[in-house]
Amino acid sequence: MSFFKSPVFRIAMTHLVSKKRQTIVAMLGVTFGIAIFIFQAGLMSGFQSTFIEETVNTTANVRIYNDVQEVRQSILEMSNTNKNAWIVVRNQKPKDEDPKVKDGKQIMDLIEKDPEVLGVSPFIGTQSLFRLGLAQASGRVSGVNIEKENAIFDLEKYMTEGNLLDLETSPNGIILGEGLAKKLGAKIGDNMTVTSPKGVALDMRVTGIHKSGITELDNARAFINIHNGQKLLGVDGSYITDINIKLKDINTAETIAKHYHDKFGFKAQDWKAANENIFSVFKIQNLVTYLIIISILIVSGFGIFNILMMIIYEKMPDIAILKATGFKDKDIKIIFLIESLMIGIFGGLLGLLIGFLMQKIVGSIRMDINGFVSMKYLKFNSSPGFFIFAYCFGLIVTALAGYIPARKAAKVDAIDIIRSK
């Protein structure tokens, strides 16, 4: 006999139908919880993955640079073999203030041969002052080989004006971040001046406007040709400060970074380590959001608990007669578990639908957000796995909320009921 025709299932459904209003209220509790889950957590997770994606896109998988602040072991410490001795070295100065990656060219050649590597790009960066007429702003210039840089960061995709490769062909081109261009009032073809902390000033011409989507970057970053970067810093043509690397598999970044560090002696940072603080902020954000959502679902759990307790008190005689006619405690328990699960299954499905519609509706309203990241529309996580997770979570809460009343019903003493009538 199919389960849906079994007496326990029929009895459970009859209880729910005979208490239509309360059943619907309890169902809507679950619906509300799941809808909020889908909307709120979907918004957060969508935002975070957009942000992470953009951040990861603008962060090298592995970045090799000369970390002049890195604490080194003093020679005294290295030569000391007595573990019990205290050694104090005061005023330890960085060995080499110059952030140059020595033999950068040779290192790049070696890395390029690594089969795990998709692309390598040299980089020279410095703080600069940008001036266009009377307007001025400070930021960072990135001196790059634009073709190689594009291979790693897919810069072309983010150009809002101008042609990326014009930088290569024009002797004094500069690509400005969108926010920076706005501050300066710069347009394509405008002439401007870039001044480095070393006092070198270069006349540049705007060849493009670029928007990564990460507001902080777009407000302060400009790309110039690597030779111009070297001119700004007053260094020779072999001088670079960073090597950016793109890998075939970004999950190998950590081990490869360690390997390069050991091999070349420079600091090698993988993308996860570079964005560590963002990930930890997200962790806290997630914790808070999920706590709120869990609270909402627990409240809807109480709704289910309530209606089941009500039904059980009202149906004591039914429970007694069912037991007297041979239904086991287990059967009685199943009846009430079915009731709570029905509320959860249908309330949850409706919640999924409403949450999905809320995502679609809100996601189709143009927002033009320019905060942490800039986006035209809110992005939601609407992957099936996310919906399944929300639904399962709702069902677990429902089952837990139904379990206590169901167990209580199973323990009802039939004789007590029959006698007291």
């Binding site: 006999m1 025709k5 079994s6 007496p7 029929r10 009895i11 009859t14 209880h15 139908v17 005979s18 005689p317 039914d318 007694a320 007669i321 069912l322 037991k323 007297a324 006619t325 041979g326 239904f327 086991k328 405690d329 287990k330 059967d331 039939a414 004789i415 029959i418 006698r419 009538k421």
Partner: protein, 227 residues
């Protein structure tokens, strides 16, 4: 000992209540009922009739002594086994006609059989209709149980007790809540079941006129069977 003759037997049955005070409600009760007998239990209020019936019906397992149904010692069974025995072998009629109010008469009758699942549903339905017909209730089959009169509901409860062809039917003052005409009607039904189908029946009643219509009466006094 001719145990085989008895469908139902108790040996040295005692029952104690500990709350609110220690109190022995049943004292070494020995009852034997033959197959096809219609027996009544009589006694004044508080003499232990209901207590005895709940123990016999296996709903109350907190007793001392033994109960045999068809030669099987019920005192050794687990709760789940007892539920199965109640389902398959014992029929029950209470003073208050406990039908499930949201179900139809037919559904109420069918439930214990659906639980037993010995026959497929169409067969169960057919048998339920036959039994309703036998008690003149066929035309009520599709009504909601709570739409029937008290006497009708009690007769539906009897049909429900019959649905799995039990070895014995227990009734705890099944007429206690009915007027004398309906009470007589219910008793006539019991008599008919006994005569036509050889159904074994044990009912508690304090109505002496009704008790007189049974094969024999067992009198309880302060929890003891009076010889």
């Amino acid at each position: 000992m001719s145990k085989e003759n008895y469908i139902f037997e108790t040996k040295n049955l005692s029952k104690f209540f500990r709350d609110p005070v220690d109190f022995q409600a049943l004292k070494n009760v020995d009852i034997s009922i033959k197959r096809g007998e219609f027996v009544s239990i009589i006694g004044s209020s508080g003499s232990g009739k209901s207590t005895l019936l709940y123990v016999l019906s296996t709903l109350d397992t907190d007793y001392e002594g033994q109960i045999f149904l068809d030669g099987e010692d019920l005192s050794k069974k687990t709760k789940n086994q007892l539920a199965e025995i109640r389902n398959a072998k014992i029929g029950f009629v209470f003073q208050f006609h406990y039908l499930l109010p949201e179900f139809t008469v037919l559904e109420n009758v069918m439930l214990p059989a659906l639980k037993l699942a010995k026959y497929p549903e169409p067969e169960i339905k057919k048998r339920a209709m036959e039994k309703l017909e036998m008690l003149g209730l066929a035309d009520q089959a599709d009504k909601r149980a709570n739409k029937l009169s008290g006497g009708q509901q009690q007769r539906v409860a009897i049909v429900r007790a019959l649905i799995n062809d039990p070895d014995i039917i227990f009734g705890d003052e099944p007429t206690g809540n009915l007027d004398s005409k309906n009470a007589q009607n219910v008793f006539d039904t019991f008599k008919e079941l006994k005569e036509k189908f050889g159904q074994t029946i044990l009912v508690v009643t304090h109505d002496m006129a009704l008790a007189a219509q049974t094969d024999r009466s067992i009198r309880l006094h302060d929890g003891e069977v009076v010889k």
